[in-house]
């Protein structure tokens, strides 16, 4: 298969990237810059693709950030909540319709490049707060893409049933350089250790029983 991966440079999508380069005929990686507070991830994504010799493109959507306001990730006035990712307070991090927008753009590029599918690394830990990381959304997007054109593009989300610690386990097996991935939502120069994504990242390494190579600002 020829696959376009929606690639953030974070832990989950980096593990998926390492998975896909072993299974796919061709992998292209698309990083979406929607003016997110944690734009640092874009540089991490570029660097990792460079190392793997994966064709990487940036979808610069900063110009529509003003339409997707109200989230801590697109509005400077909304604080990034601290605590566990599954808490109600994490809803502040939701960017309206982000996954559909990213998948739609990735599918456009996939069509232009003659690819068969778009992939993203939604996993079971995301489900609690993000409906657009669940199986019904993935299935409906697959159907919408099937109906949208002559060139069929599937949606591939192989980690839907995995926990984050299982993804860490896959990453270990694949030799993923975890320290080069970026998860923190706060946009500092180090992982904060307190936001939902940092808490979840730390926890995943702990549950998997591996020492966490990430340098956090707060211990």
């Amino acid at each position: 298969m020829k696959t376009v991966l929606v690639y953030s440079g974070g832990l989950d999508s980096t593990v998926l990237l390492y998975d896909l380069i072993h299974t796919e005929e061709r992998v292209l990686a698309l990083t979406v810059d929607y003016g997110q507070r944690h734009r640092r991830e874009v540089e991490h994504a570029k660097r990792i693709c460079g190392r793997l010799n994966v064709h990487h493109r940036l979808a610069d959507l900063r110009a529509i950030r003003h339409l997707l306001a109200g989230s801590s990730q697109t509005s400077a006035s909304v604080d990034v909540p601290e605590g566990h990712y599954t808490e109600e307070s994490m809803k502040a991090t939701v960017v309206p319709n982000r996954n559909m927008i990213m998948l739609a753009v990735a599918a456009g590029w996939a069509t232009a490049e003659g690819c068969d599918r778009v992939a993203f690394a939604a996993h079971s830990g995301d489900h609690a707060i993000y409906p657009d990381c669940r199986e019904p959304f993935v299935a409906a997007m697959g159907l919408a893409l099937e109906m949208a054109g002559w060139h069929k593009v599937d949606v591939h989300a192989p980690y839907l049933a995995l926990t984050k610690e299982e993804i860490v386990g896959r990453g270990v097996a694949l030799g993923v350089p975890f320290a080069e991935t970026w998860s923190c939502y706060k946009g500092g120069t180090r992982h904060c250790g307190k936001c939902g994504t940092c808490v979840e990242r730390r926890e995943a390494f702990g549950l998997y029983g591996m020492s966490d190579p990430t340098i956090y600002q707060s211990v």
Copy 2:
């Protein structure tokens, strides 16, 4: 209902705009600039919204034009085909996954604004060459949006079963200033009269039995 209209400034979506301002509690209009050859339509959209006092925003997606290459509307190297809209040659005008991208961005804005639905003016004349103007696509997008979030956003495409001449008829009844709308795909300063959209526009006025107020470059 509070509705975000995907609004190009063309004939069909202008008639729908005039329809919606009579039926909706609130109408917002979103024009997508994807670097299309016929960017002139953006100015027409702005002007008409200004006249109607409709809240109008631009989604500037020019930065991702390079990802959606291969269409006559996004690539300077691909000529705009001439002839009837339903001909095979018109496939050159297809921008990969354009409608899904536009609806996804509109739905993001609709969510941020607390709107109930996104509308677009797909009609039966489009169906022949654009699968993403057909009912199965609209239904699948509605389902994908339902699955994507807590805030439900519907897809409203009330002209799916109408022909273009029936849309002209609605426009006449609603007092639409047809001469201020822009359809031509060629990007000149006047409607060319030869591209698919011009041919279809002309034909629709003719079939409806109304004199066409458009000034065409070629008679």
